[in-house]
Symmetry: C2
Subunit: 338 residues, 2 copies
């Protein structure tokens, strides 16, 4: 036997007042509307007595705001996204918002379907790390219906606010580190064909750094894994690459999943890090401190990424502020033993 929820009407009836009055009082607008202090107290007491809890769905229908934020990431089980999700949750909660989490699996159609779902659910705003090439489809779906903030990945046209890191600069600093340790033959493993902005910028950073250091860039030394390929296939490409390029003394990997494949390949080829090959990777994961050897990596400020995404969104919600902001955060190069 499901209990019927207590509504504002129940309170109104028990006290013989109108539900208008009850609503006003419970929303703290009692004084503004000249409701008698005593009546206000009666309402508040009765609400507590009956354990009244406002029905957010009804409120959402009437006010058009659901106090919900939609979050779309490629995969919530990726620690990078999981940790950002956590900070987004925290900051959203402080402002009374809950989040609906969705994984797009790097699939454009799925991402668009998720956008539509979130819009139908009337979320107040969306935070997303988009997998798409451009904003055309997104604009069509979202079409000024609600604020959208991008993180990690952004678009050329800068139409939506974004929170990213300086991927180019970060990568350059890693390459510079290699060079200052005497490396000249430096490889680069990334994903392609890829329109994902951080991956583009990381590659750009690699090339810029190599040029500035007057090192020749042999396109043979750049491995571009198929973006949509299975982990298995990517692994064999990495292993192949490492086997064929024994002249390389260092390699930079463009994200945390590539470097895992790289370690596995080194293991299976019986080669050791860093004696046979030095590695620095983009993205830091807690366990990189304990791998064999501890991995040098570029750590992104996950907390700040989440925090800024939420604050931009909330700001846009509050002020109906359409001005887009683009925040670029700094990374940290953690040199360990790889």
């Amino acid at each position: 036997m499901k209990k019927r929820r207590v509504t504002i009407n129940d309170i109104a009836q028990e006290l013989n007042v109108s539900k208008t009055l009850v609503s006003m009082v419970l929303n703290g607008k009692g004084d503004d509307n000249a409701i008698n202090k005593e009546t206000q107290k009666k309402v508040l007491d009765k609400a507590k007595e009956l354990n009244y809890k406002p029905n957010q769905v009804a409120r959402g229908l009437r006010t058009g705001t659901t106090k919900t934020i939609g979050l779309i990431v490629a995969d919530i089980s990726n620690p990078f996204f999981a940790r950002i999700t956590r900070t987004i949750e925290n900051y959203a909660e402080k402002a009374g918002y809950n989040i609906i989490v969705c994984s797009s699996d790097e699939n454009d159609d799925k991402e668009n379907a998720l956008l539509r779902t979130l819009i139908n659910r009337q979320v107040d705003g969306i935070i997303m790390s988009s997998t798409q090439q451009d904003t055309s489809k997104i604009e069509e779906i979202v079409s000024d219906r609600m604020p959208l903030v991008l993180f990690d990945r952004k678009f050329e046209n800068a139409k939506y606010s974004s929170v990213t890191v300086d991927n180019c600069e970060a990568t350059r600093s890693a390459i510079d580190h290699f060079v200052s340790n005497g490396h000249k033959n430096i490889g680069f493993i990334t994903l392609a064909p890829s329109h994902i902005s951080p991956l583009i910028d990381r590659k750009r950073g690699f090339i810029q750094a190599m040029e500035e250091q007057n090192l020749t860039i042999d396109s043979e030394n750049i491995l571009e894994l198929g973006f949509y390929d299975l982990k298995d296939k990517q692994y064999y490409q990495i292993k192949d690459f490492i086997e064929k390029h024994q002249d390389l003394t260092a390699v930079f990997t463009a994200n945390n999943s590539i470097v895992v494949g790289c370690m596995e390949a080194m293991n299976n080829l019986g080669r050791s890090i860093p004696e046979d090959l030095s590695i620095i990777t983009f993205d830091d994961v807690e366990l990189f401190k304990y791998t064999n050897p501890p991995l040098s990596s570029i750590a992104q400020p996950l907390e700040d990424i989440g925090k800024n995404s939420v604050s931009i969104l909330l700001n846009q919600l509050k002020n109906d502020n359409t001005e887009t902001q683009h925040i670029v955060l700094n990374t940290t190069l953690n040199i360990r033993q790889s």
Copy 2:
């Protein structure tokens, strides 16, 4: 200038029919209600033309179902929960549900507040890994309002359906493995005072296995870290323990965060795994394959945990089926080099 959403009314007006008819047709109840095929087609076409999308909030208010599942975990950034969340998301999506994710931070009050929030949001059901000692508070809040499924952790009174693993048996198999490798002095590191069911069962498993193997259980060899202590404090306790118990040749750690502290302590004490101390830990994490040395661990069937949780919940939603189910899944012992 925000666009007004297209509603069912817009369709009705443009076609000069009632919104009742439109609603029926769009919900596939046209035939049941003897709506003319031609009229049905007109409605469907117009809906497509205007790009009509049902407002889930309004629908939720009327029908009382929001097609939303609430998910409460201790911390979404913990890979254990992140991966389960991902599978829950997948299976929920197949049935048309979205999930609202919340982290309780192992805090009873926060967990209760989250339960209340989810109920006010009219989620259709809740999946939770509870941090609480018993169900009294939970029953008070949820009070038959909606189905609740527990995973990872369950309660003595078996009031709510649950999906767990056989923690006792899994731990025993790990200890047996130690013994068959010649270990006699085996330590155990867990959290306490803890009412968390998997932790209780893991300790029980340890003690049972030791007794069966006729090994003496020295309470000195069991370290119970403060459940609510900071990571830092826990770390120093672990380091202390390892330093003082050089007689131990093997240690079992009760979860993935403890083992990380353990590795760090071994590192800093200049002792090596497994030469000076063998380790097996509960929980498996992708990178355990690449740590130094690769860690032996008990892997939980994360996919199955998520899948079963969702299917029990959906089943309870569909059939208004109050019968509780308790599913206990098996784990895998991954022996690596620690």
